[in-house]
């Protein structure tokens, strides 16, 4: 593919190929149908789980297959060959929901849920955003109140939750005290808890095959065992979680750009106008050259950040940079790809049309472009 592939290990390449083969055989033939239907079959989780694809990045003791940030990128690169971000993020919602459980959860809880989710038998989702607080995470108002018997009662609402409609386990950020950052605590809430209401799938611009839900908590009671870490550790867990979440989003970003670039390139070679193939026009050749340059730069930065994460370095602002660069690249390159396809690029049968809608979320989800710039500029000492 490009200069950086040579630096991958054999095992990393085989992992990417396994994910790619899975995507081509199990996702791609159905991608259009699933996108239009707004969902993909639940069995896909089990199929992916059975070959270990859901276990990438999780410890073997808990049913995972090991591997770090770079391996997560390899699995994303492979899965995106299914040409739908919706299926990829739907299958991957546990990648953001489980790490707080793995790191802060009690032993009985971890044993109970992690393995099931990695096998694809159960679905996990992360619920942080609320109708009244998104970027301002510490502004959340969902309350968890400790009861006499040690259990907790949860009240509040969450929204825009990926896989929320079908999730069996929700990793929910709550407020357990009024201390702005020190009063946040994560809980696992099982889907069948009384008082939990789950909306129908929300209608979105893109990511159609991924279900997105609004959740209501009305006196939902969970046992102490479901609390992740001590009270007040939620903000720390959240910051740690953002690292891999944003890296994965960066992965969706540059792979989206790479797919759009590949399709646009095929189009300029096949489509003819004024008696020649489109690539006969220098303006389009140069446009493709720019698309290729941006896509490579986005991938290289993301790889380097992944390597830094795998070395154990803290790189909060570099992750933010990778997230912004890849998101901007995905939006720009898919825009150009649609342009290069002309009218066909505006039709729902055309994959670049889907990619361009899917790309639009990337500067918004998992921390907006503006919030990433806040992080970067703060690190630069400007705030």
């Amino acid at each position: 593919m490009s200069i950086i592939d040579a630096s991958l290990t054999e095992a990393q390449k085989i992992l990417q190929e396994t994910a790619r083969r899975f995507a081509r055989e199990e996702i791609l033939p159905h991608s259009h149908e699933w996108e239009e239907a707004g969902e993909f079959p639940r069995e896909l989780y089990e199929k992916a789980g059975s070959i270990g694809l859901l276990g990438v990045g999780f410890p073997e003791e808990l049913g995972g297959v090991g591997g770090g940030a770079l391996e997560i990128l390899m699995s994303i690169e492979g899965l995106m060959e299914g040409m739908t971000t919706g299926v990829t993020v739907g299958l991957g919602s546990h990648q953001i929901a489980l790490p707080p459980v793995v790191e802060f959860g009690s032993d009985p809880l971890r044993r109970r849920i992690v393995d099931e989710v990695l096998r694809g038998e159960k679905i996990a989702a992360l619920a942080i955003t609320e109708p009244g607080a998104g970027s301002d995470v510490a502004g959340i108002t969902t309350r968890a109140t400790r009861r006499d018997d040690g259990s907790y009662r949860i009240n509040g609402a969450k929204t825009f939750i990926t896989s929320g409609v079908r999730a069996d386990y929700l990793t929910v950020l709550t407020r357990t005290s009024d201390d702005k950052h020190g009063g946040l605590t994560f809980f696992v809430v099982e889907r069948d808890r009384e008082g939990l209401s789950i909306s129908k799938p929300l209608k979105k611009t893109g990511w159609w095959s991924s279900d997105t839900a609004e959740l209501g908590f009305d006196d939902v009671v969970v046992p102490e065992e479901n609390r992740l870490g001590a009270e007040g550790t939620g903000f720390l867990a959240l910051m740690k979680n953002f690292q891999l979440e944003r890296l994965a989003l960066a992965g969706y970003g540059y792979t989206t750009a790479a797919l759009a670039l590949r399709l646009a390139r095929e189009n300029v070679e096949e489509r003819r106008a004024f008696g020649r193939p489109l690539k006969g026009f220098q303006v389009l050749r140069h446009r493709l050259a720019d698309m290729a340059t941006k896509t490579l730069a986005a991938r290289v930065l993301t790889f380097e950040v992944a390597r830094a994460i795998d070395r154990g370095e803290s790189c909060f602002e570099e992750v933010a940079m990778a997230k912004n660069l890849t998101a901007e690249t995905a939006v720009a390159v898919t825009y150009d790809a649609v342009q290069i396809f002309g009218g066909a690029g505006y039709m729902r049968e055309t994959v670049v049309e889907r990619l361009s809608r899917d790309a639009r979320l990337l500067p918004i989800g998992g921390g907006t472009q503006e919030i990433m710039k806040e992080i970067i500029s703060r690190q630069m000492g400007l705030v």
């Binding site: 054999e10 095992a11 190929e17 396994t18 270990g52 694809l53 090991g66």
Partner: protein, 248 residues
Amino acid sequence: MKILTTVKRVTDPNMKIKINADATGVVTDGVEYQMNSFDEYGVEEAIVLKENHGGEVVVVSVGPSAATKELRTAMAMGADRAILVETDEKLDSDAVARVLAEVIRKEEPDIVVMGKQAVDSDRNQAGQLLAAYLDWPQATFAFSLEVADGWATVGREVDGGTSTKRVKLPAVVTADLRLNEPRYASLPGIMKAKRKPLDTMTPDDLGVDVAPKVKVLKYEAPEERAAGEIVEDLDALIGKLRDEARVL
């Protein structure tokens, strides 16, 4: 039972290939490589044989050093050990068959299961030539394979239908697409494959001269075909066959 299977490293068949400027081959710049699809069926069948009869699966590739990736993939699927006969030359099918024959004389497997052809050159010769060099029976294009009492019963895809052939082991069987559903190289399998043995040798070590007997003069893209058409009903079809295709 000792089962030997083979894998070839080929260009990703899902990518559009282009012939290079002097027509001596295809453009390999930026091309990805993977295991020949037909070999996935061969490897799968070898593993199934081992699961049913016990024994060992040895996987062999003749190709560049980078083909260790395809060998490790086969080991991640379940093969036990691998042999790479390393060469950067472009071998014709005859040279590949002679190299494999030497490996097989050393390894003495009970059966060889390999893909019926490679998806890059589509020559469909190595298995047949190999059986001839070994003077073993062969059963090509297998869609089913049963092994019992030193014999293999092979269902074969042939022109106009299927046929069944019984061959005495050791024999060479080549795999067709209906033979099985190749498993994935699972992630735990990939981790295990790292620790499985992989031996490397060269055609020289085996005493095989791989100079090609077949000379490729030039590569040419096939002529483009017009897109097909779906017609409303039988009358429309007959009309098209008469007036446009002029075959009636």
